[in-house]
Amino acid sequence: MVLFNSIEFLFRFIPVFLVLYYVTPARFRDWTLLAGSAVFYVVGTGYLSLVLLALIPLNWLLGRAIYQSRNVRNSALHNHAFVAAVLLDAGTLVAFKILGAAGYSAYVPLGISFFIFKMIAYQADLLQQRMDEMPSLLHTALYFSVFTQVTQGPIMRYEDGNFENTRRVDLKGVTDGLFFFILGLSMKVLLADRLAILWNDLVKIGYESLSTPLAWLGAYAYSLRLYMDFWGYSLMASGLGMMIGFKFVINFLHPYSGRGIADFYRRWHSSLGAWFRDYLYIPLGGSRGGALKTIRNLLIVWAATGFWHGVTPNFMIWSGVLVCMIIWEKYALGPLKKSGTAFLRAVDAVLERLHVLVLIPITWVIFAVTDLSQLRLYMERMFPFFVQGRNVNPADYIKYLTMYWPFLLCSVLFCLPVTYRLLVRYRRSLPVVIAVTGLFWVCVYFILITKSNAFMYFNF
């Protein structure tokens, strides 16, 4: 039921919940939402919900200690409470990450990475007095556990939840929320899940036997699949949020139109990127302490990002490559950008585009293949200069292009900002309304005939 693309969620949980939510008088809706979230989470993760249940009051108590001592100069309590809260939350996350890495992933509570990040953000925002008043226990619990975000984010900020004011559910919000939800569902079910089959076929063939064009096709198909999967999820989550009365949370801002890797990651999973920026990079000093300190801070942030995604060495390589490229962009290409000559600026612009369109797909392969020896085989096929493949069918890519080009093409179209913008602009026009309704039923069809496909970010 915890998958937004499961029939249990679509045809049992959500209709029942929404009806109950809408008939509840506005001032009691927080309770309906909390009860719905509790049902959702307990069904999803069983007795492991106790972890979240325990962390909510503890964080609230520590947060209140921080809040109450806010005006006391040099208050020991103020800092100690914050340190205690961070140790508690981060310690819990690290402990469960290690447990999961040790093969006990069945004992890791659902969505722990995401609600722990919210908890740390909550404490830091209280410490830095970004909140006007102390949140009530009810609102705190809602913020951490709201079912639209508890499994995979987005990592909303407490302030953006606007919990203190009564949420207004208006028809426009419901309509738009429904639009984003179905759009996201279509990306997930009709594109990401189809492209997933292509990747499974590469695994089936064995990386050592891929033709070089197929290895590259696989890298791009995986990149598109991950994008459609996670952006699709995020749109669904934000759409559901709108239907309940929250504002739209942006998690993806057309990353593939980004200029350079740093820009890509400002746009990709931006609620996570912003979290690392605000609660790790800037507290470490950000980029204000000179080049060496900036590089140190970047290395720390990306080491943490790598660890957060997984403890296998491929994630360290992945984040290592990215941080090197970000440093290279900042200190080697940065001066080009600022230089007066148009030629150098053009060189910089071309390089930055190449980073996004060529290098990023390669890094996604590193991200995807967790076994290093397998990763090496894949890389040898992408760059076949030293090693010959084994039993390669040189025309294999034609077969897969013939089979998958419609899905690849649609996904590429979604990489262009204009597609999404046009859809959003004309979302209320009759043709789009009819098309979106039709898409919904096509999605339902595919959900019924295929076995459940979990979202990729469920693993993190």
Binding site: F11, R12, K172, V203, I205, N393, V444, Y445
Partner: protein
């Protein structure tokens, strides 16, 4: 008024449209709940009735068949009968006894209780079988000495009749062979050494239940390939050897007995259309330990049961059971993990093992089967039976 409606649509177009489609589909589902949607209503019990309407589309049952009449209904019912649903979990042990045909098939003795981690049952696929030892694959299916067979597709390994030893051949043997199968055979066609030396008729995800209705891909020895149906190929072509490798997509669908019955029908159909072909029943290749232990319906225990069942279709004369598992499995019967990426299929680089099992385990009855360099060796018992 018009302006008002326009504003309503502006604000609520999508919910209205969605609600309207829900109402229509619900009405359709409700109207057909006892006729065309009956089986689906059962499948999606506890969900809104429109799911049955959507689910039925997969079986090409469209809402307008509600009004267009009954002929379709009967057709569908017949189909329903033939195609077992996934919910029917195999009940080993009993299923083959229920068979009331002339052949007496003893019950399977290994009971099935979820995934297995232990060793495979004794005698299965541990080594390549010699012709006279076919029965080792499935001792429980051996017929007793005086059993008489009424048709060609009945019977066991024909211990008391003529039979032939498996022997090694070169690739020329396969020039008049047809390989029929699912995604595994597609892989053999694309990555095996037989590419361009044999004919293939295969398609991803086909099984014994749907293979006759599915458009398959035919690839001939010139490497040309086109879509066609099994019936047409068997009717129009002429093959001296027909290899059949089906069974992995059936795991989790139907019982072993249903699988066996369908398999037998297919073998009979091949026999009828290709009277002088050697029919090879290829045992289902096992899956990896990791895959086998993660799935209660698709594991090596069930595969072994099913192989035992289809092995009984061999008659040791023109229908043979061959098994590639010794070439790709560990001693305990699990598919060697280095040979597979997904646990079910051989990697491209591992198809040579399947090739080898085919090259080393062929039947040669006379020169028209194979005119390789070596003289064909005839089974000893054949000479005896002649005396």
């Amino acid at each position: 008024m018009r302006k008002f409606l326009r504003r309503i649509f502006q604000n609520m177009g999508l919910p209205i449209m969605l609600a309207a489609s829900v109402i229509i589909l619900t009405a359709v589902g409700f109207a057909g709940r006892n006729t065309i949607y009956a089986p689906y209503a059962e499948e999606y019990e506890g969900y809104p009735p429109f799911l049955a309407v959507i689910g039925a589309v997969h079986d090409r049952i469209w809402p307008w068949q509600l009004v267009m009449g009954g002929g379709k209904d009967q057709e569908m019912e017949a189909e329903e009968e033939e195609t077992p649903s996934e919910e029917e979990i195999p009940v080993p042990g009993e299923e083959l006894v229920q068979n009331d045909s002339a052949v007496e098939i003893p019950p399977l003795d290994n009971s099935f209780e979820g995934p297995v981690d232990g060793p495979m049952p004794e005698g299965i696929c541990n080594e390549v079988m010699q012709a006279e030892d076919y029965g080792v694959a499935s001792l429980s299916f051996l017929s007793t000495a005086e059993t008489e067979y009424n048709t060609d597709t009945e019977g066991m390994f024909a211990r008391n009749g003529r039979y032939f030893k498996l022997r090694a051949v070169d690739s020329s043997y396969f020039a008049d062979a047809l390989f029929i199968g699912d995604s595994r055979t597609v892989g053999l066609c694309e990555y095996g050494g037989m590419k361009g030396k044999a004919n293939f008729l295969a398609k991803e995800s086909v099984n014994v239940y749907n293979i006759l209705d599915t458009e398959l891909r035919y690839t001939n020895t010139d490497g040309d390939s086109w879509g066609t149906y099994m019936e047409d190929v068997l009717r129009d072509g002429h093959y001296r050897k027909v290899y059949m490798c089906l069974g992995v997509n059936e795991l989790g669908i139907g019982t072993t007995h249903m699988y066996y019955e369908k398999y037998r029908e297919l073998v009979e159909m091949i026999r009828e259309n290709q009277p002088d072909a050697i029919i090879y029943i290829e045992g289902i290749m096992h899956v990896s330990k990791r895959y086998s232990s993660s799935d209660s319906a698709r594991n090596n225990t069930v595969i072994v049961q099913r192989n035992e069942a289809i092995a009984t279709l061999a008659n040791g004369y023109d229908i043979f059971y061959i098994d590639m598992n010794p070439y790709v499995c560990e001693e305990n019967g699990d598919l060697i993990s280095d040979l597979t990426g997904d646990g079910i299929h051989l990697k491209a680089s591992a198809y040579e093992n399947w090739d080898r099992s085919l090259f080393e385990n062929a039947i040669v009855r006379d020169h028209s089967d194979y005119s390789g360099e070596e003289e064909p060796v005839f089974g000893q018992e054949e000479e005896e039976s002649g005396t």
